[in-house]
């Protein structure tokens, strides 16, 4: 599977589905190699070998980095249901069956004091209702959500936009290490991957897919949280926009036109919607 990821023959967000359909990563790898133009083979074989990859995995384990693939039973259940799930996750800490009740709380890096307070409050309320708070370990709203959940004694999981060997931003190094020891820090990128413009949007798709729903606290027109709202809705996951967001044009468009978007004022409303939409005994009514 890592060889398939390294070779980049298939788009990252279609690789997991292709592997699952094939039933075996090795068979898919062999099929792809067979289909290759033989003249390209010399170039291909200069790429990383399976042996080298095995050594890498062993070295990750020495750093306490585990690997969970889409073929493992431990792969997160919510993520399994979305089209753009990554083939493998790198992980510090441990996944939990409780992660099925994950809610992402996201927003701007440059947040107002009100926004930070609101994020922490929502995180606390979610934890009190046995939800797991997921965020991206960025400055601002993300940090406030993680800290709010921790202070309330709840589980909070970080899904980061770099490889696990990196800390971004640096001031959250301690928080990242704490979460890696006590709950989970997840990355879909090779552990050495640095922060790039494209890593964050890809990460947002994994965060929205890992969570049952995304709550956007404060986010301007160019925010990554806005991007996550779009990705969540494409995955069929509800998005909750705090009413204060409606001063932004994008939030108004979402509120009026997009399916699965709910404008809320309190975390209690978020919980009520989630308890309904994900009820075990859910039935349809006209």
């Amino acid at each position: 599977m890592l060889a398939l990821m390294a070779r980049r023959k298939l788009a990252w967000n279609r690789l997991a589905g292709s592997i699952e359909e094939c039933g075996s990563a090795l068979r898919l790898l062999e099929d792809l190699e067979e289909a290759n133009d033989p003249r390209l083979f010399a170039v291909e074989s200069a790429e990383i070998t399976l042996d080298q990859l095995e050594e890498r995995v062993i070295s990750y384990e020495r750093e306490d980095i585990q690997l969970v693939t889409v073929l493992d039973a431990a792969y997160p259940m919510n993520l399994r249901m979305v089209h753009d799930r990554p083939p493998a996750l790198f992980l510090r800490g441990a996944l939990s069956p409780a992660d099925e009740r994950s809610v992402a709380v996201v927003g701007s890096r440059k947040a107002s004091p009100d926004g930070l307070e609101k994020a922490a409050e929502i995180a606390k309320d979610l934890v009190a209702r046995d939800y797991v708070v997921v965020s991206g370990l960025a400055a601002g709203i993300d940090t406030a959500a993680h800290r709010g959940a921790r202070e309330a004694g709840g589980r909070t999981v970080a899904i980061i936009g770099t490889g696990l060997r990196h800390h971004f931003p640096k001031q959250n190094t301690d928080l990242q290490d704490e979460l890696g020891r006590e709950s989970a820090v997840i990355s879909q990128f090779w552990p050495g991957q640095e922060a790039r413009r494209w890593t964050f949007p890809q990460r947002n798709a994994v965060m929205s897919g890992f969570a049952r729903a995304t709550v956007v606290v404060e986010a301007g027109n160019t925010s990554g949280a806005r991007m996550q709202a779009r990705l969540a809705i494409e995955q069929g996951r509800p998005v909750f926009l705090l009413r204060s967001l409606l001063r932004h044009q994008w939030a108004q468009t979402y509120a009026h036109e997009r399916p699965g978007t709910y404008v809320v004022e309190t975390s209690e409303e978020v919980v009520q919607h989630l308890d309904r939409l994900y009820a075990d005994d859910l039935v349809l009514t006209a």
């Binding site: 249901m81 939409l277 005994d281």
Partner: protein, 249 residues
């Protein structure tokens, strides 16, 4: 706990695409993409028995896209939670669509309305016994009075091709018109096999409403054009319009 049909039906709306109108480059039956210079129907629709009075796909379903993922998860999802979560939302799509467009399908089929509604069974008797699609369609309350099991798999036929021996009738049909429901149309072999058996059992007309018209994004309908089905899908309007359908007038 209850969720409204309209709310649930919109879950995958951003992944749904209205099927293109029949015309150049679009199969006049199943609405897949074809070479406009050579054909008016795709190969399977041109060469299988033409025994469906109307074929009405609700949305395209791009291979490995979110609709395809949902259409797989409701059957093969790893846990009951995953399967049911997808199933209830797909049931809502079918419920809402039929409420608005069953009459369109009937008109296209040349009948006043459908006397009976049934599903295309699985080809394997073991799988059919616990058919997730039968369970899903069972939640669509407006269909309850007309919903009947009319077909069962013989178990003798595998694969996707049309085969009149794939299913056998459960009952004789005395000239009734039948609305056939299915989750996915890939080549139409299953639906046409089902229709052949229903017609042989006496059905007057059989029409099909199917949730997803499966599309392989890498397929290139016009040789050498480089224009893939994936690209053609991207060119379709992004917002799904519930007020129209493949046979809307």
């Amino acid at each position: 706990m209850a969720v409204g049909v309209e709310e649930a039906s919109r879950t995958y709306e951003r992944a749904m695409r209205n099927v293109a109108a029949a015309g150049p480059g679009v199969c006049e039956v199943c609405r897949t993409f074809i070479d406009p210079n050579k054909y008016s129907r795709c190969h399977p629709c041109a060469f299988q028995p033409d025994n469906l009075a109307a074929v009405v796909p609700i949305t395209y379903s791009e291979r490995l896209g979110q609709m395809h993922t949902a259409l797989r998860n409701y059957k093969d999802g790893q846990s009951r939670t995953v399967r049911r979560n997808a199933a209830i939302r797909l049931a809502a799509i079918l419920w809402r669509f039929l409420g608005d467009h069953e009459a369109c399908a009937a008109r296209a089929a040349g009948v006043e309305g459908f006397d009976l509604v049934t599903i295309v069974p699985s080809s394997s008797p073991a799988r059919d016994e616990q058919s997730p699609f039968r369970e899903l369609t069972g939640w669509i309350r407006p269909l309850e009075a007309r919903m009947r099991q009319l077909l069962e798999p013989t178990g003798a036929v595998e694969g996707r091709e049309f085969d009149a021996d794939r299913f056998r009738p459960v009952d004789d049909l005395a000239g009734e018109s039948v609305l056939l429901l299915d989750d996915t149309w890939t080549t139409g072999g299953h639906a046409r096999s089902a229709s052949a058996t229903l017609r042989a059992a006496g059905a007057s007309e059989v029409a099909l409403v199917v949730i997803g018209r499966h599309i392989r994004p890498e397929y290139v309908p016009v040789d050498g054009s480089g224009e893939t089905c994936g690209k053609l899908l991207k060119g379709l309007p992004e917002s799904f319009d519930w007020t129209t359908c493949a046979v809307h007038e």
